[in-house]
Amino acid sequence: MMEKGLVELHEELKSGKVTSQELVEESLKKSKEVQEKYNAFVTILDDAKGEEVTEDILSGIPYGIKDNYSTKGILSTGSSNTLKDYVPFFTATAIENLSRHGAVPVNKTVLDEFGMGGTGTTGHTGIVRNPWDKTRMCAGSSAGSACAVAAGVYPYATGSDTGDSIRKPAAYCGIVGYKPTYGMISRYGLFPFASSLDHCGVLTRSVEDAAIVVDGMKGIDKYDMTSWDSSDIHLYDSLTKDIRGMKVCTIKEIVDISMYPNASQELKEHLENFHKTLEHFKELGVEVEEVSVDSTLLNAEPSVYVVISCAEATSNMSNLTGIVFGPRADADNYIDMMKKYRTEGFSPLIKRRFVIGSYVLQAENKNRYFYNAQRVRRLLVDRWKELFKAYDAVVLPVGSGPAKKFDDDKDILDKNTAVLEEHLQIGNFGGFPSITIPDGFVNHLPVAINITGNCYEDSKVLNIAYALESTMPYKNQVAKEEN
């Protein structure tokens, strides 16, 4: 049952073929199996109960919450030892909104600690395994959400995306990952990583479901000044496969195989598959053009992300002292208490990022690093906005191939493919709506394509994805373990 999409589940619930309680029980049972095999959850909500089924598609249907969303009365750890015992007394707005639609949370999913990582290996409860191949990673940071949705625990789970934390794991797990325009979903109650880049979003198995869920999560929020009124946007109702006459572009410097003289077999296949996918656009009456973007600008992108995200993170996470909340450390004075708590609580990766963040904000370095990063961010966003004047979307492959093995360390960047790996971050720089959908297999593992459009054009982006999805056989695909 849990492998079905939302509309179908809703119909079954309405017709009485299944009850919400039965769905919840199935989802909980599945959660335990998935936990056993892939370690996707921080908490399984054993006492979750079915909800009343209404006209609302989301009503009575189970879902998962990434563990960096604050949930009242439910452990919310951010997958960090620093919050391993933290039970909030307020719920994130996006989750409140889903509850209003009758959605039923059944578990809290593992992430890279506070969303700061792209491997799904840095959470305090251990690594999350890829449901297609246990020896591979899910990518991150929404690793548990991607794993659970791909494994068929439920139709969707919430995610958050600061660099590519929804869209990359979606790609590695063969599902859909969508982050809408910045501010469409309130961030109130989302544990911050880098506030100017953080987005809420969702992982699903179809574009349709992504539209339904984000319709349920979004809305202006008086507790988040960056949220905006999207009450006249109805993503699900606006879905159409008719995108005839649209124009999309791809970027030569990223997708041309000649850019990668030492390309691995996987990369070659991935790019070939991407170009094959572009052919589908022609069937849909969409023009595809290859444009050129200055590679100096493109190559600066990964560093820009590191500088800005680390700087904001250092500051955002300075509230974690273990004094007001979190497991308080034992020491003689408050300074030693904080030091001990932070030294023992954070993983080495995060600490490294804090050091970078502090360094780039120091008075003597600020202009060279932080302000320059802001400048390049602006240049990249301006370039993309320019592209959006001529094209309805930018389409690019996600990553340099399928899910990586655990022994490849994603955080040691391969200079050659760095931009290919990191370009999704431009979607965060500009706050652009951006969606990843599966577009094939390499090495029996899923690979994906990303579609990114201009701010506030979420419907257009979803429709392009919706139409493209219909030309391929991957809609509602559930992970089939090969190994």
Binding site: R187, S196, Y223
Partner: protein
């Protein structure tokens, strides 16, 4: 002392007390005896909470900026100042640095110093959140987060003051501005005003326009009363002069000190080289927003007449003495009371007399504030009108006013109750006067010889009327009747 010129700059922090809620959280902005009762999740830095700007606080900050003649920014930004301290659980303070520009830059304030006009240049004024208040005890400290997140205005002046008294006069003027513009109660007893003071000395005769001659700047942190500002400056001037005289001044590094209220001294905290790097950056959770001309215009219109302006009107239009004018403007509620009395038709001089002598005396004695006074401006006007119309004597009027305050009843009722209607009828008084004169022909003779028997006649008339005869009319009729004989 005579050999040196003193340069003083101030950083004045004043809480905005007139907003309902804090500057970025929906917790109440107020003073409470109960610690930690006005807090919301944001004030405690809970994960996932976000700041939401209180528009009213921005409006008040812009108002202050306009009063000081500063330039206002086109866009409003906030920045984070990062530091770890228990008074701010987020471990950063949302504030405004000078780039991008805060609510105000480059203004000036002209104020009165012992009858002389002085001008201080304002470098900038910015809006930020206050931190919690800490109390330190020998073995522990307590923290009250009620104050954390209260809107705070920080005003930074150029070093344009040259004595402790000038600095205090400037601060008093600013306090009055905050009160008059209804930005803050500006009550230092509630900790609403706190200052950092910069002091340096330079040899007289050197060019004061050249910063190289300004001497070494010493910053004194956290001076919490105007008296403290005066004492700290004077102590610091003496200390620095002593260093000059000893010849060790040039070894002194730019430094931060703190004022110690127990020993009345300044104590070394840190050198400029150890200045904290707060790693400022623009607060990403508050989108920059445009300050429209219309909004600015409506704020500008809302600025009331300030104390200095009122004082001038009182002296030039109402012909009050400088002393009376000063007394009336000292507290805005008193000045407002006075202006309301005048707007109800009272004679400005008469009203001023009533307020400065009788009413303020009463408030002082009873330790009351004018807003709690039963006697409204309208009642005061009623009493003044009765005197003017001769219905009661001015002597009686004081009795009426005191009884009104005691019994909390309308003046007219009190006049009736006390049976205090004044006799102003010419014939009634004349009949009594004639009778009194007829009974004392000898005293009329004495009066003519230059002896003072006049008061006796007045007294007899008053006796006969139980004090209700209009005194001036009585005097006039006595004169007339004596002259007739």
């Amino acid at each position: 002392m005579e050999d040196y010129q003193v340069l003083i700059g101030l950083e004045m922090h004043c809480e905005i007390s007139k907003t309902k809620t804090k500057v970025f959280s929906s917790a109440r902005n107020g003073y409470s005896e109960e610690a930690n009762s006005f807090i919301r999740p944001l004030d405690m830095g809970f994960p996932g909470t976000l700041p939401v700007v209180n528009k009213k606080a921005v409006e008040m900050a812009l108002k202050a900026s306009m009063i000081l003649g500063c330039q206002q920014p086109e866009y409003m930004y906030f920045e984070r100042k990062n530091y770890y301290y228990p008074d701010m659980p987020k471990n950063f303070q949302i504030t405004q640095e000078t780039k991008p520009i805060p609510v105000g830059i480059y203004g000036s304030l002209t104020y009165d110093f012992n009858g002389e006009k002085k001008t201080v240049r304002i470098n900038n004024i910015h809006l930020e959140e206050d931190a919690a208040s800490l109390d330190h005890y020998p073995s522990f400290s307590t923290i009250d987060y009620n104050r954390a997140g209260v809107p705070l205005l920080e005003l930074v002046t150029e070093p344009d003051m040259h004595s402790a008294e000038e600095a205090v006069a400037f601060l008093e003027t600013m306090r009055s501005i905050y009160q008059y513009a209804e930005i803050s109660d500006a009550d230092s007893r509630k900790g609403q005003i706190r200052c950092d003071v910069n002091v340096s000395i330079m040899e007289k005769g050197k060019d004061p326009k050249d910063p190289k001659n300004w001497g070494t700047k010493v910053e004194i942190k956290n001076v919490n009363s105007f008296g403290g500002v005066r004492d700290a400056i004077n102590y610091e001037i003496d200390r620095q002069i002593a260093l000059k005289e000893e010849g060790t001044y040039d070894e002194m590094e730019q430094q931060t000190r703190r004022w110690d209220e127990d020993t009345f001294t300044t104590i070394y905290m840190r050198s400029k080289v150890d200045a904290i790097d707060y790693r400022y950056f623009v607060e990403p959770n508050i989108p920059k927003y445009r300050i429209s001309e219309e909004w600015k215009e409506s704020i500008r219109k809302s600025i009331p007449k300030l104390a200095s302006e009122r004082k001038e009107i009182y002296q030039s239009e109402y012909s009050l003495s400088e002393y009376d004018a000063k007394v009336l403007i000292k507290e805005k509620p008193v000045s407002d009371y006075y202006e309301e009395t005048i707007s109800l038709g009272a004679d400005p001089k008469g009203a001023a007399n009533w307020i400065t002598s009788v009413i303020l005396g009463y408030l002082n004695k009873e330790e009351m504030e004018i807003k709690d006074l039963y006697l409204t401006p309208r009642m005061l006007v009623d009493i003044m009108d009765m005197v003017r119309d001769g219905k009661i004597s001015s002597k009686q009027s004081k009795e009426v006013l005191n009884t009104v305050l005691e019994e909390k009843r309308e003046p007219k009722e009190i006049v009736k109750k006390l049976g205090l209607t004044q006799i102003s009828d010419d014939k009634t008084i004349r009949d009594i006067v004639v009778k009194v004169l007829d009974e004392h022909p000898d005293l009329i003779e004495d009066h003519r010889k230059g002896k003072n028997t006049f008061d006796f006649f007045v007294g007899q008339v008053m006796k006969a009327t139980r004090g209700q005869a209009n005194p001036s009319l009585t005097a006039q009729i006595i004169h007339e009747e004596i002259d007739k004989r």
